[in-house]
Symmetry: C2
Subunit: 223 residues, 2 copies
């Protein structure tokens, strides 16, 4: 299956839902993304153009904030490349109305509490300053920041299936088996989830697997 | 938790189980790894030194083949970096006896058949030439090549839990929700699997998450 790699044109008229209140500097301050990086995303079509106020200046709106946060989540938490984010954005209709978002500072403590409760329920005592723990908090916080707290139940669902996987896991003394099961299991789970998603949303199959360099039409497992 | 990053010393006496039959060129031919890359792995301690036959020549044994295959599997299928493989190898005792391995050419068709059967059982009709399909075949074939066919049942177990995750999945018309669930779900699943593994094999927690650069003591989700 080949999927079109085209980004919808966004350089024409500004969408009606945008209010043009910010200069690029404010956009940077409010998202933690540097101005050169924002300009790069504008050139690449990952962000819609702002409204020109002079030949060298433009103003930006709430939708820019939301997309910048989405880019940060997909790259920093999800580990996607910029090319992969482009692919994902091309598949998104971007019309799903507005969501009430939380500021990063507010989202983090609530997310941390949520993760603690889920881990305690499974009797996994995690140090949330470790990488796996921080990643869980970052994922839940990201959903709150994007106004998608409705999706945070993902954590409980994942914890349930991981507990099932662990129960039938390999001999604890066979480190080689555990390493192979863990590392290959990550990509097997990710690949299967893309296959299942295909039924409803074919383009999702094309979201690259974690840890794979993104290559839209080439197979990455050449032997 | 900090984990030692030291590689066990492998440059001393050759282990007893090794038979020294190959020059480096044969090692390369039999594993598909280039000679400069093999020399890099030797320098980095990822491969034990061979037995010197002259100041400029050495011979290598079956264990070198096995380790080279393991490096290929972890990097090419599992998406780990070389630094992460170092970390993993440091945690492996490497004494689990010999396993009967299959040549790559023999392992692939059997793996393809296995993947087809598992997908058919779940009524997921996958094109195995797509990236997700090829990754599944590559993972199963890798286990056969490493003589760890005993672990290939991982595929069925993962298919079962993915089917469960999919049943309670998000609204098919909400592409944003599906993208976030898919991408963040990958890292959430991977993070939870590391937390659960910690109980039996603490070092496994340190295997970096897919898509994350390896940084042994730094947190990767700084905000």
């Amino acid at each position: 299956m080949t999927t079109s790699f085209a980004i919808p044109k966004m350089s024409g008229r500004a969408p009606a839902w945008n209010r043009w209140t910010m200069r690029v500097a404010e956009l940077g301050l409010r998202t933690g993304v540097s101005i050169p990086t924002i300009k790069y995303y504008l050139r690449e079509g990952l962000l819609p153009q702002g409204e020109r106020t002079s030949p060298n200046q433009a103003r930006y709106g709430d939708e820019h904030i939301r997309r910048l946060r989405m880019i940060k989540v997909l790259t920093e938490v999800g580990g996607l490349s910029i090319a992969a984010v482009k692919y994902v954005f091309a598949a998104m209709p971007w019309e799903q109305g507005e969501h009430a978002t939380q500021a990063p500072g507010d989202a983090w403590p609530a997310a941390e509490q949520h993760v603690k409760e889920v881990l305690a329920a499974s009797e996994w005592h995690a140090d949330l300053d470790d990488d796996p723990g921080r990643t869980l908090v970052a994922a839940v916080a990201a959903l709150h920041e994007l106004g998608r707290s409705d999706l945070a139940g993902m954590l409980e669902r994942c914890a349930t299936v991981v507990a099932e996987l662990a129960r039938i896991d390999t001999d604890p003394d066979d480190t080689e088996a555990r390493v192979l099961t863990l590392v290959l299991g990550d990509v097997v789970l990710a690949a299967l989830r893309r296959l299942v998603s295909r039924k409803d949303t074919p383009t999702l199959t094309g979201i690259p697997l974690p840890g794979k360099p993104y290559s839209p039409n080439a197979s990455t497992c050449e032997r």
